[in-house]
Amino acid sequence: MKFTLRIWRQKDAQQEGQFVRYELGGIEVDMSFLEMLDILNEQLTAEGAEPVAFDSDCREGVCGMCSLVINGKAHGPLQATTTCQLYMRHFADGDEITIEPWRSTAFPLVRDLIVDRSAFDRIMRAGGYVSVHSGPKPEPNSIPIAPEVAEVALDAATCIGCGACVAACPNGAAMLYTAAKVSHLGLLPQGQPERYGRVKKMVDQMDEEGFGACRNYAECEAQCPKEISIQFIAQMNRDYLNATLVKPVDRRSKMSAQ
């Protein structure tokens, strides 16, 4: 197979970027999209040119490291599929393929197709956890959890933190990502004590990072490789409203002062 690739090249955040065209032949249908880029990079290396920088690690769709907007879609044309699980047989011989990085103010560009997604980690640090230190814990069967509740929590927890939701959203919102963690913990009994403080802090951090607002476009759900439902956004909004109504008092500083 042969392809014309239009790839976004940009040396770093300071310099301007541009699309560069590459003609690439000798691609087999059974190759993955990232293997196709590996081949391009080997050719560029042989020519003494600089390879295209892109993120990937596990290459089996679970680490969330790979990204890429392919022909305008986060993770490419296939539903419920990360870029690393996309295969060249899903393209036609001779296609022109446009490859861009995630584009969002909150994800500054690092190089070529790599962006900085550390804003996601900062949202998590704002409250995406149950405060428990390591050590002896109660017997888990002493707190039964209905399987359907555990299943829905897992539907949310299955988020791989890739950032496709932000890239897909016309507003660059991170609602689906934040809602997935808020809902995962908010559904489980272990997450109840910190439930309302958590949603408040995580949403505030999300806003501070410069992510946009949600307008219910639902592009995030459509392009999420793990098919996380926007119902979780509704759940987060409910929790957030509750949180503002009950005015959660963070007693943490007082407690540690004791």
Partner: protein, 638 residues
Amino acid sequence: MQLDAKIPEGPIEEKWAAHLEHVRLVGPRNRPHYRILVIGSGLSGASAASSLAALGYNVDCFCFQDSPRRAHSIAAQGGINAAKNYRNDGDSVFRLFYDTQKGGDYRSREANVYRLAELSTGIIDQAAAQGVPFAREYGGLLANRSFGGVLVQRTFYCRGETGQQLLLGANSALAEQIAEGRVRMHTRAELCDFVVVDGRMRGIVFRDLVTGEIHSAAGDAVVLATGGYSNVYNLSTNAKGCNVTAIWRAYRRGAAFANPCYAQIHPTCIPASGDHQAKLTLMSESLRNDGRIWVPRTAGDQRNPAEIPEEDRYYYLEDRYPRFGNLVPRDVASRNAKDVCDSGLGVGATGYGVFLDFRDAIKRQGESVINARYANLFEMYERITNDNPKKTPMRIYPAPHYTMGGLWVDYNLMTTLPGLFAIGEANFSDHGANRLGASSLMQCLADGYFVLPATIGDYLSSYPYGEITTDHEQFKTVENDVRDRVRRLLDTRGKRSVASFHRELGKLMINQCGISRNREQLGEAIRRIPELRDAFWGEVGIPGGGEELNQSLEHGGRLTDFFEFAELMCRDALERDESCGCHFREEHQTKEGEALRDDENFAHVSIWQYQGEGTPPTLHREPLEFDAIPLAQRNYKT
């Protein structure tokens, strides 16, 4: 070299409790004065970093990915073992200990394995308290599934993504500690070397992968949680970034390396489609419960496999192992697949693949039953290969998956280099010559949540804190070493890519030191690896500079360490003149083709000590003792 494993006295059930009573501790007021560097943020790294920080220590945690959540533990599918005995099927700590010891073919240290079994139950409690959404039964209690090599149901799981959920749990604990200011997280930071002063580990030198700057970090102890070295084979089920650099550099600085030849090759993976394959994807071993494995009897049979009649099919496992058939142990299945492919009967584009056929199972049990059992696996397979396994048989081939060898550690998980600890897959201690399924998650979390936080104080309390900062001249020396190494890679002016050399090394290793090994092949590998290494330095080309994000440079640095390591791995495989677990020496097998151990001469841990470039390493031996469970021939037949 002094090898003191520091195994506590007393009966095996009492060793850990007794150890906890006597181990030296650091008091809560002193802990904030100590700084611990944790390298890696997977299950063992994240659990250790968060647990140590929660105790009050200052922690710096490093990972090469853009977020600690991406470490490769996330890809573990099946589950995590714990001796809870929820199923009332006779499970116990002792039974888990026994299964692990037997599964490892009696090549691990009893005291460590027993402790692992003992701590297993607490891991489930800890993870559930963090909000890990384990599978539940209708009544809301935790569910279990079966796993290979054992007779009880003790595996806890979250669908097929147990590793992901456990890692996100450990990472949430880490996030809390980062928010509290007790952990400083360094992402896109690659460890390059260590700083040893007066025989003690004092810090690391690392490269900022975005800016290319070389930095140092000083600490009172360093913990390696950097995983295994399966990528020495290039194609493995590991993530692309997994590498041997941290443990290899530690070895070069004086930490001894134990059992480097133990590598597990998993029998059911999707085979490589061609030369440019980037990685291999694991398919759950459970498929062998219903699938029949075969190859065409005639080499080069190009017919559609579904149309090949029964008499032209060679069900080689059923034929050679009539009693166990397709359910032979992992190592036997892998070895036989290689054997039939070597004789030319393999299928697929590369000739290295065998069929796993569900036709008969579907005929017998109906498509809906088989589909309910394996739908997600079938879908995953179809996505990658574009073949529907219900219509045309799956193609599978073994792939390197996990490495049991690693840095030698004592009972406190400290290496032979004082102040350097190794946890999780990076150490050698718990899985012997073969790891059982659902045991790696258990070991990583036992080490990180429970063992290391209790034992690290024993070392720390023996020395004053914060003695050395990065101003010490040794840091400058090592930083300059690292800069030289980077420059040397960038000064290469060849045209060949790093990836092409990695492929070549991988092919060499899988052929000469893979599923089965023999004296001749290993000797040849030991001769050829240095030749390949020389070719690398002469012909490789690494475009771009050092002061920027440069992925070829990162890969080049990792590959140079794999080159050096590969030689040690082959040397160890050659020296271990017996078969045990995953280490199958063709010279040593039973009549049925099983691994034949030589307990008289090889019931020991092989421990390699670095002697400098160009000098062969020294071999030390830690004899293994079998007090709790007597040595026995591994037998899964009766």
